[in-house]
């Protein structure tokens, strides 16, 4: 008969460089923590899992919480019996938020294109510098294939 060896280890959660959570676990009630950093804590004499709360982890936590809330409402997992209008409103939410984000991005790009002022002086200066550079390089032996003028602004 195989016997299961009991291991003890510690879990430390670090937020803003402070340890906010520490607990002892055994392999009777273990669970896998993503983003964890496995190490051996020599002071405690046992394996320790460090979870440093990076921005990525914060985002993932926030997104998964929202995702779970959406799933609960859409698939009615808790039998909350919400009014039908709110359930109708909830299920297209992820697609709606993506479309809104796309619209916002498009509008921002369009607005910045429309209000980006031409800089005539800078354009002329740049053209002159390009011409100068081309002549300089030609003297040094570089062959320039494309003679298309550059339009700026």
């Amino acid at each position: 008969m195989a016997t299961l060896k009991l291991y003890k280890f510690t879990v430390c959660a670090i937020y803003n460089k402070n340890i906010i959570y520490e607990t002892e676990l055994s392999n009777r009630n273990t669970f896998i923590l993503t983003g964890g950093f496995f190490n051996y804590n020599f002071a405690l004499h046992r394996p320790t899992i460090f979870i440093t709360m990076t921005k990525l982890l914060e985002w993932l936590l926030g997104v998964s919480l929202i995702g779970v809330a959406w799933g609960l409402v859409t698939f009615d997992l808790l039998d909350l019996q919400l009014p039908p209008q709110y359930r109708e409103l909830a299920w297209p939410m992820p697609v709606y938020l993506l479309v809104v984000f796309g619209c916002y991005s498009l509008a921002t790009v369009g607005y910045r294109v429309a209000t980006f002022n031409d800089c005539e002086d800078a354009a002329k200066e740049l053209q002159a510098q390009i011409k100068e550079a081309k002549e300089d390089l030609k003297k040094k032996g570089l062959k320039i294939v494309s003679a298309a003028p550059v339009h700026v602004g």
Binding site: E88, L106, V113
Partner: protein, 88 residues
Amino acid sequence: SEIDVEATGADQAVGFGLVGFSLSLFTYYTIWVIVLPFVDSDHVIHSYFLPREYSVILPGVAALILLLFVGTFIGVVTWKNRKPKKVD
């Protein structure tokens, strides 16, 4: 010092066109997804909107078509820039 001139006509037309297009798309889509569930089903406004399932299917199809375009573009550019392997 540099004198800034207002953006040229074409730039303004394209830019404000994009802004107008995204504003109208946002308005239509918001009414479709958020406002319509709270409107009585016999109101005339429902005739201007497709059934609710299409509010998820159409953006999905649009995203797929966009991906197709991007993939095709990358494929064409990669194909054009391929260099024959050297044979020693």
